[in-house]
Amino acid sequence: MSSFSADWSRRKFLRGALATGALALPGTGALAGCATSGGGQESTRGEKSDKNPLGVPTDGSLEIYIFNGGFGDEYATAVHEPMFKKAYPNVEIKHKAEVDIKGALQSRFVAGNPPDFVNDSGDGQIPLGQLVTDKQLFDLTELFDAPAWDTPGKKVRDTLVPGAVEQGTFGPKPYVMNMALTVYGTWYNKVLFDQKGWQPPTTWDEMKALCAEIKGAGIAPWTYQGIHARYMVWPLLTMAAKLAGPEILVDIDNLKEGAWKHDAIKESATALAGLKSSGWILDGTEGMDHIQSQGQWVAGKAAFIPCGSWLENEEKDVTPKSGFEFAMMPDPLLSKDSKMPLETVYAAAGEPYVVPAKAKNPAGGLEYMRIMLSKEGAKGFTEKVSSLTVVQGAADGVKLPAGLTSAKKALDAAGDNVVSWMWQSWYGTMWNPGINAVIGDLLAGRKTVDEFCDGCEAEAKKVRDDDSITKYTREK
């Protein structure tokens, strides 16, 4: 007893502390669980009927995650959710608007209790290809085969523009519903061009002549999104496809060896690299980001910029009140004897929506998509967010801003001559940072055209050789 009375010596204290730690640790393990451990939840479905072809449970809840970014979330709360509520008054809609989808949902995917409907978009997008590979997404075949909401006698898939379903397809099955239709091209200020009497060029030779003239007028002919140089991949591939036909894009998607060394790609890259060597790119562009360079373009410091049809909406706050009208032109032809006509544009379905495979109410998620893809739902989307949709004819009669009108006109003029590619969404890391860095070097004059092609090939090879990446192919 007396020997036990030893003072509270430091050594003993530490020994005791260690023992306590050892005691406490196993407990913490059980408490914390592991970051990697999964779980699950039951999914329920209701009875299928003519009015309810997907079998949505008529009570219970529907949890919706909308990315609260450029499009906001009003289109959901003011258009689609009321439509859903009207059809299923006893279903409780749990609406969540989220800026960082990944931050909010990654752990829920791992734990196996994801929401029923996710707008997987924005900076915090969880890569769709990875979600498909990890079997986290619900097969949307049922949705596209279901009868359309308000177009009698047609399936949902038949009411969409060509390519819309394919662009959400990974392997044999569609997993992603892309709502917005983005048209890509080269943008200019119509007021300025009209004032100066400049015509949008139709061939690259005309482009070069016009660039010299624009430069003479004291304006930089071109700018691009600087450190996000990948925006220039869009005109590069579109011009190459016009020259040699859309097959070259299939080869690129299929990661075929040498696809990036096709003569048409080289010619297109030579044209774009020539902008720099001729001194036609706004000084300092390579050091800017998209906000800075697009701001310069809107401020009239540069005449042309490549972008998608969201540009007008994105620059809304900095666009001059007068003397500015957004206009988009299809990328010029590299040669008079091209395989595809000038009117060809790159248009892609974007803004992805998914139903998680382990959702509690997957049928509800599908039904919500069916509502979005209805004429009424799509029209409401266009009105709220100023974007075209994949639903055919849904924007007819809607009053659109000038830039979007010009994009829609370009798309209508293109008819069937619409090109698109899949590698950007299939292999996200090849797109950025991969090829983003390579084309950045080309446009800043740090790489020759041949080095550029080799660099792109190397990025494709990286994906090809990485067994941990699931590969997809397409036929046409």
Binding site: M1, F4, S5, D7, F13, G16, A17, T20, G21, L23, A24, L25, G27, T28, G29, L31, A32, C34, A35, T36, S37, G38, G39, K102, Q106, F109, V110, A111, G112, I126, P127, L131, T133, D134, Q136, G226, I227, L282, D283, G284, T285, E286, G287, M288, Q292, S293, G295, Q296, K301, G428, T429, N432, P433, N436, A437, G440, D441, A444, R446, S468
Partner: protein, 323 residues
């Protein structure tokens, strides 16, 4: 020894009633804090080591054990090697430059002038003392955004290039953050700028503990400023320099926020400004390869441990007793 024993003897022993349940008492107090420590600090470390040996994508509940494959990937991937190289540069350049600048400024502020009352700081040192500390008050994110605009091209409102052009040095007005030769060095400069203030204060505090009579003696012996600094000031603050040195080496290994904000997730133009912190973030949250990202994290842990050991060793030196 005898002194100690005597001291111990004077402590009154607690009675049996207090002895009872002493260990239980200690345990009760320790369980909670240690539990939290284990839960939020130790367990993530251990889990990261485990995850680094799996192919976990970060999105499933079923990672597969793949041994050391992720580690061999690190050394076969050219981009992580770029990041490693840059971390090595940070490790050598940032602490060295910061310590030198910090010592220089601190000695100017404290012992830079021979005034009427002996050794004192340069004129206006009270103001400088506050100004130098400003960067420390700003968060790293703000510093990053701020300097992104300092280094931006003139056309996008870049202050530095506008200044260079203003004084006729047009040829020096390059797109700093858009050029692979400069982008990373811009980050290095900003890091040094933001670190120096803290070390000026730290070294100043150490210098103020040096008795003024030592300086007076040196003065009487005809020692000039450099000799005084080299043979009086430096040895007497060496302990502090050593602590600062190690701490800074660890700080410089990180650099995540600076690079991420100023150069972006790819590591800047031609991806030449990459660092391990950004590579880890990118691999996890852009590529969804949490296994590989954890391996980078574990590598960073090992490198940081080695670095701190080496730096502590190198900086070891006989301590000068002041009494």
């Amino acid at each position: 020894m005898t002194k100690k024993a005597a001291a111990r003897g004077r402590v009154s022993k607690p009675g049996p009633a207090l002895q009872h349940g002493k260990y239980l008492f200690i345990v009760v107090f320790l369980v909670f804090p240690l539990g939290i420590y284990g839960l939020f600090t130790l367990s993530p470390y251990l889990q990261a080591i485990f995850i680094s040996m799996t192919d976990w994508t970060g999105l499933t509940g079923t990672p597969k054990f793949i041994g050391l494959d992720n580690y061999s990937w690190i050394f076969s991937d050219s981009q992580t090697l770029v990041a490693l190289k840059n971390n090595a540069i940070l490790l050598l350049v940032v602490p060295a430059a910061t310590v030198l600048l910090g010592l220089f400024f601190a000695s100017m502020l404290n012992v830079g002038r021979r005034g009427r009352s002996g050794i004192e700081g340069v004129r206006g040192s009270a103001v400088y003392r506050v100004v130098y500390f400003f960067p420390q008050v700003l968060s790293v994110a703000i510093i990053g955004v701020l300097f992104k605009y300092v280094f931006a091209p003139t056309e996008a409102g870049g202050i530095l290039n506008s200044f260079l052009r203003g004084i006729g040095l047009d040829s020096l007005a390059v797109p700093w953050l858009g050029d692979p030769n400069f982008a990373f060095w811009c980050v290095v400069v900003v890091m040094i700028w933001s670190f120096v203030g803290f070390y000026v204060v730290l070294f100043s505090a150490a210098m103020q503990t040096i008795p003024k009579d030592i300086y007076e003696a040196a003065l009487l012996d005809g020692s000039n400023r450099y000799t005084t600094f080299r043979h009086v000031t430096l040895p007497l603050v060496w302990d502090t320099v050593q602590v600062g040195w190690v701490y800074m080496a660890i700080q410089a290994m990180d650099a995540f926020a600076f690079v991420f904000i100023m150069l972006g997730i790819s590591g800047g133009p031609s991806r030449a400004g990459d660092v391990l912190g950004v590579a880890m973030y990118r691999t996890a949250f852009n590529d969804y390869r949490f296994g590989r990202a954890s391996a980078i994290g574990v590598l960073l842990l090992i490198v940081t441990l080695i670095v701190s050991l080496v730096f502590l060793r190198l900086a070891r030196r006989e301590r000068v007793e002041l009494s």
